[in-house]
């Protein structure tokens, strides 16, 4: 839908002119870990709680290579609007919005369907984590802004068939950053929920597919299936799961392995949250 109230930039993907021979896909590092995460809470003073997350850029030398940058603000708990019906629980509203410049294709100011879809996933992931009956008659808005959307700009492969695998990475980042922001806002949670992705990738048609954690879409030849999980580590429970792709046959083995790998990714992300939250409290103690 065109947004007529603002003067919009050019529609469609912009391709920077490349005169050199492109470097080809980045060499997929055989790492059995997720990318490094930078997480910081309390970055937005006006919000009740906030957090910022950034993923390590695996190939900073390559031109146009980007990572994931997310900012999350939590507003509330605050009273519901007059028109809202009585609710014995906190009403959770999640917004995921890409910045217009976050992806190859420019995003409008209105949320499109993929952003709304991410919002629903995020809501499901968080709804399981928060203790909703602690805050009756109140609402909380969780707004995640995707500053950089983890889309490699000069990967010809990704341009050809953009299957939206990067959305999984964005979602797992959204879950992790929102979890930290909610804890910062002082909303009751059963656990710190963290997101993690695992994917079944293959370099080309000849080699056997392998399962990797936190896949960098540009690094891999093709992604067959991917799975994004929101996980509560101390309770050992999954609040949201999103799997899509094509698994060979009705084989549950591959599926289970994929899930296990993404749980490992979740645990890694959770360690970052725990560390950052501990630091948040320590910092607060130092001031007072």
């Amino acid at each position: 839908m065109a947004d007529r109230r603002r003067i919009n930039g050019p529609v469609g993907a912009t391709t920077p002119p490349i005169f050199d021979k492109p470097a080809g896909p980045a060499a997929a590092k055989t790492r059995d870990a997720i990318r490094k995460i930078f997480l910081k809470t309390g970055i937005t003073p006006s919000a009740s709680g906030s957090a910022y997350l950034e993923l390590e850029n695996p190939n900073p030398q390559r031109p146009g290579n980007t990572s994931l940058k997310l900012s999350c603000t939590v507003h509330g708990p605050r009273s519901l609007p007059r028109s809202a019906p009585f609710s014995p629980h906190i009403i959770l509203t999640t917004h995921v919005k890409y910045a217009p410049f976050a992806t190859r294709q420019r995003r409008g100011y209105l949320r499109d369907s993929s952003e709304r879809d991410l919002g629903v996933h995020l809501e499901t992931a968080l709804r399981g984590a928060i203790i909703a009956d602690r805050w009756p008659k109140s609402g909380v808005d969780i707004i995640v802004t995707v500053v950089e959307g983890d889309q490699d700009r000069d990967s010809p492969r990704a341009k050809k068939d953009d299957e939206g695998w990067d959305m999984m990475n964005v979602l797992s980042g959204c879950i992790t950053v929102a979890s930290a922001a909610i804890a910062d806002a002082g909303i009751d949670c059963v656990d710190t929920v963290a997101g993690g992705v695992a994917a079944l990738v293959c370099k080309d048609d000849k080699t056997a597919p392998t399962i990797v954690m936190d896949p960098v879409v540009a690094e891999h030849g093709s992604i067959l299936a991917a799975c994004c999980v929101a996980y509560l580590p101390t309770r050992d429970e999954i609040t949201n799961m999103w799997f899509k792709g094509r698994l060979p046959g009705a084989d549950m083995m591959v599926y289970d392995k994929l899930m296990e790998k993404s749980l490992v990714a979740c645990r890694c992300a959770n360690r970052v949250i725990v560390q950052e939250l501990n630091e948040t409290v320590k910092k607060g103690q130092g001031i007072s």
Binding site: P77, I131, A185, D188, T234, L277, N278
Partner: protein
């Protein structure tokens, strides 16, 4: 005192050893933290004699075992001022009158306990004439502050101390001033002057010398 830091989901102890306080939750007979903050363990107070409180609706005796256990709670008190709390039954809240109607006063709750709220919560105080004879609600308000001069804007700057008696309906908490220490603590007259209390039910305007009816709080 070095306080233990707790993050959501951290194990605090078995639920047989502690009573769950604010900021904690029970899962599979264990107590876990549910907010970010520091752990406080409050030893149970010695039982005060119940006094002359009427216990009309008392059905069963309190489980005395749980009353003896220390209460464990997690809070961000002293670390971050931005801790939002909800008005609860039993708190004392400070409110500002926003709207006066013949049968009720609508107020905005500003402070709960000693926490200044960021969000604005709405409350309702009803006069005794319209009493629903439910527990605690009969004596909502001895004298509605601005009953006789509803039209004046003066009613809107009154400050109240009151106590929530119910979670209320979709819009408002139900509040009561049915206690000596609850009532109007700051009043403005019809003329727009700040008044001072002269009795348990009257405020006086220092300039005009006129008395106006208020349910005066006696906080000390």
């Amino acid at each position: 005192m070095a306080q233990t830091i707790a993050i959501p989901g951290q194990l605090l102890g078995p639920s047989s050893k502690y009573v769950a306080g604010p900021g904690t939750h029970i899962h599979e007979a264990n107590l876990y933290s549910s907010v970010l903050g520091t752990v406080t363990i409050a030893q149970p107070e010695k039982k005060i004699a119940p006094g002359p409180a009427k216990r009309l609706t008392k059905i069963a005796g309190l489980p005395s075992s749980s009353a003896q256990l220390p209460t464990i709670s997690v809070s961000l008190t002293g670390i971050s001022e931005k801790r939002e709390v909800l008005p609860e039954v039993g708190n004392v809240v400070l409110c500002r009158v926003t709207r006066i109607q013949p049968r009720q006063a609508t107020v905005a709750i500003l402070v709960v306990g000693d926490t200044v709220l960021e969000a604005e919560w709405q409350g309702v105080i009803r006069p005794p004439g319209r009493a629903r004879h439910r527990e605690g609600q009969g004596q909502d308000l001895r004298e509605l502050p601005a009953r006789r001069h509803r039209a004046s804007a003066g009613g809107e700057s009154n400050r109240f101390l009151s106590e929530p008696i119910s979670l209320g309906d979709q819009a408002s908490y139900y509040l009561a001033t049915a206690s000596n220490d609850l009532g109007v603590i700051m009043a403005t007259s019809e003329a727009g002057n700040v008044m001072y209390p002269v009795s348990w039910k009257e405020y006086r305007d220092p300039e005009t010398g006129l008395n106006e009816n208020r349910k005066v709080a006696k906080p000390f």
